[in-house]
């Protein structure tokens, strides 16, 4: 038997990740400063860790209900109300998932029939396209532009919509660009969508990490409430990536459909994490705020550093990424990253890892200490100078 041939062509045809080679290179190197990590450098606040430990001590080691502990869903509802003025019923409008990742996956699977189109603005998180393809959807890519600060505009959205469009992914605050969409930006999108049969999957996992104004959810527009599946989670704001916990909110019919998949594929989300998350939502506002402040200081240092190094860097106002243009160096994103790693031992990610239109950009994260960031920026400046002079 040819085992390879047994693999589903849909999966087989997905190209291998372009960043694989960096793993191999880095493994053989010392003193590398990595600005390539898309997760907080902070450890989960102690009160939250302690709540998880306590639940284990008490022997809470069983399944929860499929949708997650009702106590946690109530806290999620209260949190969304408090933060974003959103109203979701804990009983039938919220499902607790294994990270935002699962939320994205089951939202797509609940909606998609093979051949349906899913509009995905890029550059963005790699999972959207992957999950859309797994669900046998046809991804329709919108190429976001730096001159729009990587926001989605009606001019870009409208031409992408066809009869077959089922879903729009709205990935803000954005990984990798750090772009955000404020209320006015969203209103323009709402105008386009409000009388179309399109569901928005709004990935707001970085909502809390917004550095100018407050994050606004598209679900807070009354005409969008039922047409939106809100995806969120604990990984970024609460520094809980390894706990694997997130949630999705939406119309009861959609949540019910997602629950069917979740129930058969996952059963329930990890309960230790659920206990910890209850504590996170109740008592971590100060910790979250302290992390946001710290990120904001580093964000400014990093943007300033890239600009001083002579690179154009638009002002990212969310998440923990900067997305400078490296076109000036005459290198491609991939060449830049590989040479920067080999010559200066700094690891950043090529913009092309997040979509073809990421060409000419790199993603650098400031989820790293000020000391690391400052040292990395010195090395980057030296590197950029070398290539600018060589030209």
């Amino acid at each position: 038997m040819n085992i390879e041939k047994m693999i589903s062509p849909t999966i087989r045809n997905i190209p291998p990740s372009g960043i694989r080679k960096y793993f191999d290179l880095v493994n053989e190197m010392k003193d590398v400063i990595s600005l390539g990590i898309g997760e907080p450098d902070f450890v989960t606040p102690w009160n939250v860790r302690e709540a998880g430990i306590y639940s284990l001590e008490k022997g809470y080691t069983h399944y929860s209900s499929n949708a997650g502990f009702i106590e946690l869903r109530r806290e999620i509802a209260a949190y969304l109300k408090r933060k974003y003025s959103l109203d979701y019923r804990p009983e039938d409008q919220i499902i607790v998932t294994v990270g935002a990742s699962e939320g994205i996956d089951i939202a797509l699977r609940a909606l998609i029939e093979p051949g349906d189109e899913v509009i995905i603005p890029e550059p963005s998180f790699v999972a959207y396209k992957g999950c859309a393809v797994f669900a046998r959807a046809v991804p329709v890519i919108i190429e976001l532009r730096e001159e729009d600060q990587f926001r989605l505009t009606p001019e870009l959205l409208e031409p992408a919509i066809t009869e077959k469009t089922k879903v729009l992914i709205l990935p803000y605050p954005n990984n990798p660009t750090g772009a955000i969409m404020n209320e006015d930006d969203l209103r323009k999108i709402v105008e386009v969508l409000k009388d179309k049969d399109i569901i928005v999957i709004s990935d707001e996992i970085y909502g809390e990490l917004t550095y100018e104004g407050k994050h606004v959810s598209i679900a807070s527009f009354p005409e969008m409430k039922d047409r939106t599946i809100l995806i969120n989670g604990f990984s970024k704001a609460f520094a809980m990536t390894g706990w694997r916990l997130g949630y999705a909110c939406g119309h009861p019919a959609v949540i019910d459909a997602m629950k069917k998949i979740h129930q058969y594929a996952i059963m329930c989300s990890p309960t230790t994490a659920q206990h910890a998350a209850i504590e996170a939502l109740r008592n971590s506002d100060d910790d979250v705020q302290a992390m946001v402040r710290e990120y904001n200081g580093r964000r400014r240092i990093m943007v300033d550093g890239f600009r001083k190094a002579g690179l154009d860097c638009f002002e990212p106002l969310g998440a923990f990424y900067t997305f400078p243009s490296i076109k000036k160096t005459g290198l491609t994103s991939d060449e830049f990253c590989e040479r920067l790693l080999m010559e200066e031992r700094v690891l950043v990610v090529p913009g092309t890892a997040f979509g073809d239109c990421g060409a000419g950009f790199i993603r650098a994260t400031y989820a790293s200490s000020i000391e690391n960031i400052s040292e990395a920026l010195i090395r980057i400046q030296r590197f950029v100078e070398r290539y600018s002079n060589a030209k």
Binding site: S34, I37, D41, N175, R300, I370
Partner: protein
């Protein structure tokens, strides 16, 4: 202002230039804000937190509960001053509860600290009694946990 202080309290090694960028202010603004805070005595100094255990010098720390009779018209301040003026005294607090002053002393050896208590502290007229607790192990000081620095064990690339 508060944010500036919080940044400095956590890491006073940052340069004025770095702080200015972090807060979105000009270097001049930061310089004059710091100067003002220093002049007003809000910022009293810049110190370094050292784990002396890891050096060849291993100073001994003791917490001393001191019970005193307050003096007429002076309250506790006068006795406290006579105590905190000694350079060996690293901290001195007036506290509520079963005793009055909590005095933190550092010395080169247990003997030195004990002698200081016996010769300088206990004999003070208004000191009624002292109770000395030697520190055996420091787990955390000034908000910093005394442990080997935690390696960054995250994967090098995560999309």
């Amino acid at each position: 202002m508060e944010e500036l202080l919080e940044i400095l309290e956590k890491n006073s090694k940052l340069s004025e230039e770095q702080i200015a960028v972090m807060l979105g202010k000009s270097v001049e603004e930061i310089k004059s804000a710091i100067k003002k805070l220093e002049d007003e005595g809000v910022i009293l100094g810049y110190t370094t937190l050292i784990d002396w255990e890891k050096t060849s010098k291993e100073p001994v720390t003791a917490l001393i509960e001191v019970r005193v009779t307050p003096q007429r018209g002076e309250g506790f301040d006068k006795v406290a001053e006579r105590i905190y003026r000694y350079p060996q005294v690293k901290a001195c607090y007036l506290v509520s509860g079963g005793f009055d002053l909590m005095v933190v002393i550092e010395g080169k050896s247990m003997k030195e600290v004990a002698l200081f208590v016996a010769e300088k502290l206990a004999p003070l007229e208004s000191v009624v009694s002292t109770s000395t607790h030697f520190v055996l192990k420091k787990y955390k000081d000034k908000g910093v946990i005394f442990e080997k620095s935690r390696p960054d064990n995250r994967e090098v690339i995560i999309l």
